[in-house]
């Protein structure tokens, strides 16, 4: 599904078509290059299902990375009241 909208210039559309055409060529010649993309990013294939189902949203201090001590549990409140990040 490709929806460029009216915002894109002829040059930008040509760049996109160019990219898609070169990918189609790669699929014919070096399919593994496409199957293992992206190559220019620090991380490549993330486990998207796991990221959606079990997201890690809270940073927990470790000894090496904790310049400030973690807060002690507040006795008055239930666990939900603890500060979260």
């Amino acid at each position: 599904m490709i929806e460029p909208t009216e915002s894109e210039s002829l040059e930008e559309l040509d760049l996109f078509i160019d990219a898609m055409r070169s990918i189609a060529k790669e699929v014919e010649e070096t399919p593994e290059l496409v199957r293992s993309a992206p190559h220019s990013t620090r991380v490549s294939r993330l486990d998207e299902v796991q990221a959606a189902r079990k997201p890690i949203l809270r940073w927990k201090p470790t000894e090496s990375a904790a310049p400030i001590p973690p807060p002690q549990p507040v006795p008055a409140g239930p666990p939900e009241d603890q500060p979260t990040i």
Binding site: E3, L15, D18, V34, W59, P67, Q72
Partner: protein, 438 residues
């Protein structure tokens, strides 16, 4: 076939490059004790004991907050922002979900002090400026959709669907039977069946024909006296305009059912065709798609619902009305309402489905959408629609010899390819999308 690639010389447009290292630790990991990005002024009021004031609510330990200097914070978030891919960085061709440029004039207008600082609890008489903005936007959207009336309250597309189907249900109830089911084509947005279900309707799937449109025979078979409405996206998610829309509306209306249109793809119709003219009874718009207000993380969204006059009594409260010119004059002391010609909110609507959003929706988006409409004008909006459709078809023409086109019908705002040829070589759509990142 000559393609754009072979005939057009490459330009100097550079490709998007992310931040060089992409190795940025969390603010908590960068933190070191005592660093500050601010300095509090000396206390110039009497000190109080928060523990005595707050009792049990007073926390015993300080919150775990990172400590950084201002430049560290600026660098951290600036670096992170360079990892994003956004419309401000490059083309964002997300099909089915118009992601257009957000013109800067919208932001300029939305930041005008009297509009940006307007308080929703101001008396109507002192909020006439923003109420005029809302009234003018309503007028423009009614004209664009060809409907009779509108509510701007819903805060998103799916929220608009929900509001629209509430109107459908309230109208059927007023006719004596809320009815049982809603028909939804298999090409619909996933939010359509969710909306029908949450409004208490059974969802019945409607099969598409080979061209990706509604199968009229199947529709005639499936519509009965228990059908409340058909929820139709036109043009559909595969970019095909439902050319038999008049017949679809007639089949529904003959059985007392209504036609709901998901306006997600209005970007292909503005200034060219009006849903109100082709049989639609109620529809929603997405200001964050068609009318260039920020989409996604830049939100919030806005999903106005436009409808025909017979659904007007059921609109969410309050409804914006203009006092009759014969009403008593403006009170010179309080400036309170009831002055002739002033805009005010009408809450006295016994058949209303009730309120669906606090205040009157995401007002900041109304200002941006109106700025977009006025900046373009009728001819500009029409040209925008033509360019959107032309651009989609230009891409179709440039790629159709290499990628499979599952539907041969002319494309509207978007073009759909399948990975049929590439899948034979073990490469799927997702892989191609990942390679596009490079």
């Amino acid at each position: 076939m000559a393609t754009a690639t072979e005939t057009t010389p490459r330009t100097t447009l550079g490709k998007v490059r992310p931040h060089q290292t992409q190795n940025e630790s969390l603010v908590f990991e960068k933190s070191s004790p005592g660093k500050r990005a601010y300095k509090m002024p000396p206390l110039d009021v009497p000190a109080v004991d928060p523990a005595a004031l707050l009792g049990d609510a007073h926390r015993k330990t300080p919150g775990l907050l990172p400590e950084l200097s201002e430049i560290e914070i600026i660098r951290h978030f600036t670096r992170l922002s360079t990892w994003n891919y956004a419309i401000d960085l490059g083309m964002y061709p997300l099909g089915s979900c118009t992601m257009k440029y957000n013109p800067r004039v919208n932001e300029l207008v939305a930041r005008i002090e009297g509009l940006a600082e307007a308080h929703p609890y101001r008396p109507d008489s002192r909020a006439q400026g923003i109420l005029e903005v809302i009234a003018l936007l309503q007028k423009c959207l009614i004209e664009i959709t060809g409907m009779d009336t509108i509510t701007l309250q819903p805060a998103a597309g799916a929220h608009g669907e929900f509001t629209g189907i509430l109107l459908v249900r309230a109208w059927h109830e007023s006719q004596g039977n809320p009815r049982r089911k809603i028909l939804i084509p298999d090409s619909a947005h996933g939010t359509n069946p969710a909306t029908a279900a949450i409004c208490g309707y059974a969802v019945e799937n409607l099969k598409s024909n080979a061209e990706g449109g509604i199968d009229l025979e199947a529709l005639t078979r499936q519509v009965d006296e228990e059908t409340a409405a058909l929820m139709l996206t036109n043009p559909s998610t595969i970019g095909v305009f439902e050319s038999q829309i008049h017949k679809i509306a007639d089949i529904l209306h003959a059985k007392g059912a209504l036609l709901y249109m998901d306006g997600a793809n209005m970007n292909a119709l503005v200034g060219k065709a009006r849903p109100g003219d082709f049989g639609v009874d109620v529809m929603h718009l997405n200001l964050h798609k068609t009318f260039s207000t920020p989409h996604g993380g830049g939100g919030p969204g806005s999903g106005p619902v436009a409808c025909k006059a017979f659904l007007e009594p059921f609109l969410p409260i309050p409804v914006l009305v203009r006092n009759a010119p014969s009403a008593p004059g403006l009170d010179s002391e309080t400036w309170e309402s009831n002055s002739p010609g002033q805009l005010t909110w009408d809450y006295n609507r016994p058949q209303s489905v009730g309120r669906v959003r606090a205040f009157y929706g995401n007002t900041g988006m109304f200002i941006r959408a109106l700025a977009y409409i006025l900046a373009n004008g009728p001819d500009g909006l029409r040209l925008t629609t033509e360019d959107a459709v032309l651009n989609a078809n230009y891409i179709r023409h440039g790629l159709e010899d290499l990628y499979e086109l599952p539907y041969k019908t002319a494309s509207m705002h978007e073009v759909v390819f399948s990975d049929k040829r590439q899948a034979a070589l073990g490469v799927k759509t997702g892989d191609i999308a990942k390679r596009l990142i490079d």
